[in-house]
């Protein structure tokens, strides 16, 4: 049996909140509670939930921006929390992220090519120009677009740029946190198709986080439904969508359908 690309085992993450009274101890919020899943190469796992469900915290733990209080996040068999900072920074080229807001995820003062090349600079890889041009081409932009600044692009194009930055180091895993939520329907479909194309082309595993069950259904092999920090339903997308076992999933499904 081969090691899964990403293996999340029984992770729990708690936040200590601000004091509400001088006497009482600081309240604790359990953002993610005992969550486990695995994700293999060339597969897409959808994480669905509403705000406060813990899905973004889960993404931040997978990206090693936060350490789980309990449990482990194993990427290619390595525990991210155990890695030395320099080793973790080197490993980061293997898992990248795309964000929700295409306006906030690009530094307005840098050219597009400069932003896309950032992960390459971090690992000291040479020959930036060729790789950046290739990444631009892969997301459907022209090589000449690299000289422009983010404000010259529409929201959908910016999301393409953000995706180009995420794939320029040829990662094995892409974490997409509400990556199409801020986009118009017609643009959303283009970006979803692009993600599918890139997955076929590069063998990417995608952890796709969204509040929209319909979007997740169009893209994902497996689905996890989260509520209040717990995974309340998990399984193959076809099963979760056609025969949801939880009333909560049914409500989400109802909200997504015309």
């Amino acid at each position: 049996m081969t090691t899964p690309l990403l293996s999340v085992g029984n992770v729990t993450r708690r936040y200590r909140l601000a004091r509400t009274s001088f006497h009482a101890p600081r309240p604790v919020l359990t953002a993610v509670s005992d969550a486990s899943f695995t994700l293999d190469r060339s597969r897409t796992l959808g994480v669905v939930g509403e705000s406060g469900s813990g899905k973004s915290t889960l993404a931040r733990m997978v990206m090693a921006f936060e350490r789980p209080d309990e449990g482990r996040v194993l990427f290619e068999g390595q525990d991210l929390a155990q890695l030395a900072p320099s080793a973790l920074r080197r490993l980061r080229q293997r898992f990248q992220m795309v964000f929700q807001d295409p306006y906030g995820s690009l530094d307005p003062r840098r050219t597009v090519a400069n932003s896309i090349a950032e992960p390459l600079r971090a690992i000291g890889a040479g020959d930036h120009a060729a790789k950046v041009a290739q990444a631009l081409d892969q997301v459907g932009l022209r090589a000449g677009d690299g000289e422009k600044y983010p404000h010259e692009f529409s929201g959908g194009q910016r999301q393409r740029i953000a995706i180009a930055r995420a794939i320029v180091t040829r990662p094995a895993l892409l974490v997409a946190d509400e990556a199409v939520s801020a986009l118009d329907v017609s643009v959303q479909a283009q970006i979803l198709n692009l993600l599918m194309d890139l997955q076929d082309e590069l063998g990417l595993a995608i952890l796709f986080i969204s509040h929209d069950l319909a979007v997740v259904g169009s893209l994902c092999d497996d689905i996890i439904v989260m509520k209040d920090g717990h995974i309340v339903e998990a399984g193959p997308a076809s099963k979760v969508l056609s025969a949801p076992s939880r009333a909560y999933t049914k409500t989400l499904l109802q909200a997504a359908e015309i």
Partner: protein, 323 residues
Amino acid sequence: MIEVEELSIRFGAATAIREATFTIQPGDRIGVVGESGCGKSMLALSLIGMTPEAARVTGSIRLEGEELAGAPDRLWRRHRARRVSMIFQEPMAALNPLKRIGETVMEPLLVHEGLTRAAARARVLSLFEEVGLPGGRLRQFPHEISGGQRQRVLIALALACNPALLIADEPTTALDATIALRITELLVRLAEERRMALLFISHDLAAIARATRDVMVVYGGDIIERGPTASVLADPAHPYTRGLIAARPRAAASPRGPGERRPRLPTIVGAVPPLAALPAGCRFSGRCPVELPVCAGQRPEAVARTGGGGAICHRLGAESLTA
């Protein structure tokens, strides 16, 4: 109740709305659907006289017979809250964080209706009950309640002076799906119980389907299709409406074996052009998959559809001529 005729809203060279004509009757629930930058919010703001100063509003907006297109703010102010009211996308931004929510809702009652504090308080309590807020919330501050409850407060505020028309601009977009369902249900119920007209603006076809009886599809400042919501969504006539509905992801998936290609979503090519760079003829030309040579230069006429409403498209005109 509201008659809008050939209403245009321009910003310099850019046209946000081009010659829109429609009416709203008491009890109507009309959806305005479109992507960002199509002019739908401008249309909503024009019906309450709150278009930005730079906007040039021409044509006619008659509110119960009174002509208000391009009227000064002073005239509009008489109608706001009392005849026409509006709720917005971001409920937190629309509430004064330093004021208890009960006070906020009470204010228009004291100012517009001249009620005593005791009478206003009683009205607020009944409004809160109507929108499903416990009376105990009266003394709470906006940050102490959830996003869905804030939107309920804003709905109560908008209803305080019994408006004949409630404009809801993306009222559920900032909310979680399950909360959004409840708010949509609430708006529909209120419109029916009060015989109040509801203009529901959204980019979300699912929300439009739940909230409205009729729908206007806006693209590039034109109302390109209109009709009963169910029939427009089930059998769209305009290529843009068709593309929009097709591009919507479906919450249905089939298992995919290793190496198997997942079906791609149908897309509309390109992106919505900026308002200043729209084609002169059909606004959708340049992106339309079934474009005719005439489309870019000449504006299509409205073609009626069976069951009410219609679409503006040269294709439809050509087909109906040949038929």
